[in-house]
């Protein structure tokens, strides 16, 4: 059985996966931003 025979199925599946990927990407982005913000807070010099 040729693997390419089912490309159509996979293509449709990708369309259904797009919202999940967008939400997952948003979570990853917010986690990176949060860590960067925490890192900046730690490295910032304390005010006298």
């Amino acid at each position: 059985m040729l693997p390419l025979a089912h490309v159509g199925h996979y293509a449709i599946w990708v369309l259904y996966a797009v919202p999940v990927l967008i939400v997952a990407a948003a979570i990853v982005r917010s986690m990176i931003a949060q860590r960067r913000w925490e890192g900046d807070e730690e490295s910032a010099p304390e005010e006298p």
Binding site: H9, I12, W13, Y16, P19, V20, I22, V23
Partner: protein
């Protein structure tokens, strides 16, 4: 529901105004909007702190009185007995025999929906509970003391029910799919075996203990009953805030497995008629090439894919739990896993409605016409004069079915989000952290919504 050839879609969907996948996108947007609305306006737990209102003492006494309990128990025993008798003595044609439609459609699909509205309505009609209680009462009267029971192993929790749930669906959709199909007498024998097992367990551990933990149907229908409006507490009926009782459901080990098994088995049943057809064929051919017989290969393939569905749903949920664990102040992984399991109950119900709505509407016409008048399907009886009745398949259009499916999935997942958000506010009193933890559950809900719609769109063609 392989024993009924018209289980899901009866006709290819007509042209929808937009492609089916756009419904998944739109549903995801609604979920994301709901998430932000919850984050903005729901900043303290409401379900957890909901106080049920006790109903009138006289009304409670009447509904919960012994004669009513006995009557309900007798109705349950009679219907189970009728199903077993029809299975053993009736026609072998599955669609003409009362047993299959009653057990796998009317009861299996009807109780979850009714329970989700009214509360646990199966409990008074549970035939095994009725027999167990009657036997316990007789023992007490004769021996002059209440029957002694073994202590139920706490670690087992609801695992017997979770495994049993997989077994019931396996019998229904896997065993029935291979060989000659699921025959009524097979179901009758399985019911008798299950009855003997259940009564033995009730004898060992106690009727209520087993119903709460191990009796498959009590646990399964009771789970949906936690979404409903009415419950019983301290011998009184109470009216509670919708969905609020779900917050105290997953306190026993194995509860998450029960609700995951529910979602997984429904997913498998839908996928085996659409999305999984090609990969299942490949695996089947591979197993046959190993020298396994055709029927065994078919059942083995189906079993593997059903277990894969269970693993897949569990994995998505585990990822959500793992994500929540990264939020500062999170409780242990075990606590999170049990603590958010109840938010999957409305999703399990949504999957059930979405996948079996059309089957239920069509088969209930059969149930209340020819199956009621001629339960054995032999063509020799016409108890209510409806033996010549039939099923009107034009009662629902394919598009109407699709809109119900989309609506059910959407509503179920929004309620799931609400329950998860409410629980998060208990674990993270700071609503900002609670909201951050729920990004992960939002991803879980969006994933289940899109997966469910994908399965339905492929199965519906």
């Amino acid at each position: 529901m392989s024993f009924l050839p018209l289980a899901h879609a009866l006709a290819a969907r007509e042209d929808l105004p937009v492609p089916a996948w756009l419904f998944a996108w739109a549903a995801s947007i609604v979920l994301i909007a709901s998430f932000f609305a919850l984050a903005a306006g729901w900043r303290s737990p409401r379900f957890e702190q909901a106080r049920p209102r006790l109903l009138g003492a006289g009304f409670s006494r009447a509904i919960l009185s012994l004669p009513v309990q006995v009557l309900c128990g007798l109705i349950g025993i009679f219907l189970l007995g009728l199903a077993v008798y029809a299975g053993l003595e009736g026609t072998a044609a599955p669609d003409r025999n009362f047993a299959l439609t009653f057990l796998f459609v009317t009861a299996w699909l009807g109780f979850p929906v009714v329970s989700a509205v009214l509360g646990d309505v199966f409990r008074p009609f549970n035939p095994w509970r009725a027999v167990g209680r009657a036997a316990g009462g007789a023992f007490t009267a004769i021996a002059g003391q209440r029957p002694a029971h073994l202590a139920y192993p706490e670690r087992l929790g609801r695992w017997p029910a979770a495994i049993g749930l997989l077994a019931v669906v396996w019998l229904e959709v896997v065993y029935g799919a291979g060989g000659t199909g699921l025959e009524p007498d097979t179901v009758a024998v399985a019911t008798l075996v299950y009855s003997a097992y259940t009564l033995a367990m009730m004898g060992l551990f106690g009727v209520e203990e087993w119903c709460e933990r191990g009796e498959i149907f009590s646990v399964y229908f009771g789970m949906f009953g936690r979404l409903g409006l009415f419950g019983v507490r301290d011998g009184r009926l109470e009216r509670r805030r919708p969905f609020s009782a779900a917050t105290t459901w997953a306190t026993l080990p194995g509860s998450a497995a029960v609700v995951i098994a529910s979602i997984a088995t429904t997913s498998y049943d839908g996928a085996s008629e659409g999305a999984f057809v090609d990969p299942m064929e490949s695996v089947y051919e591979w197993i046959v090439d190993l020298g396994v017989g055709l029927t065994a290969a078919s059942r083995l393939t189906d079993t593997l894919f059903m277990l894969a569905c269970f693993g897949g749903v569990a994995l998505v949920y585990a990822l959500g739990v793992r994500g929540m664990r990264t939020v500062p102040g999170a409780p242990s992984k075990e606590k999170l896993r049990a603590g958010f399991a109840h938010s999957l109950i409305p999703i399990a119900l949504a999957y059930l409605v979405a996948h079996y709505f059309s089957l239920f509407v069509f088969q209930e016409q059969a149930q209340f016409t020819y199956l009621l008048s001629d339960p054995l399907g032999t063509g020799t009886t016409d108890l209510f004069g409806t033996a010549d009745g039939g099923v009107d398949y034009s009662i629902l259009s394919a598009n109407a079915i699709w809109y119900v499916q989309v609506g059910a999935l959407l509503v179920g997942h929004v309620i799931g989000l609400m329950l998860a958000h409410d629980r998060a506010l208990v674990y993270w009193p700071d609503y900002r952290k609670a909201t951050a933890s729920q990004y992960w559950m939002l991803a879980v809900m969006v994933a289940f919504t899109c997966f469910g719609l994908y399965l339905l769109s492929v199965a519906n063609g």
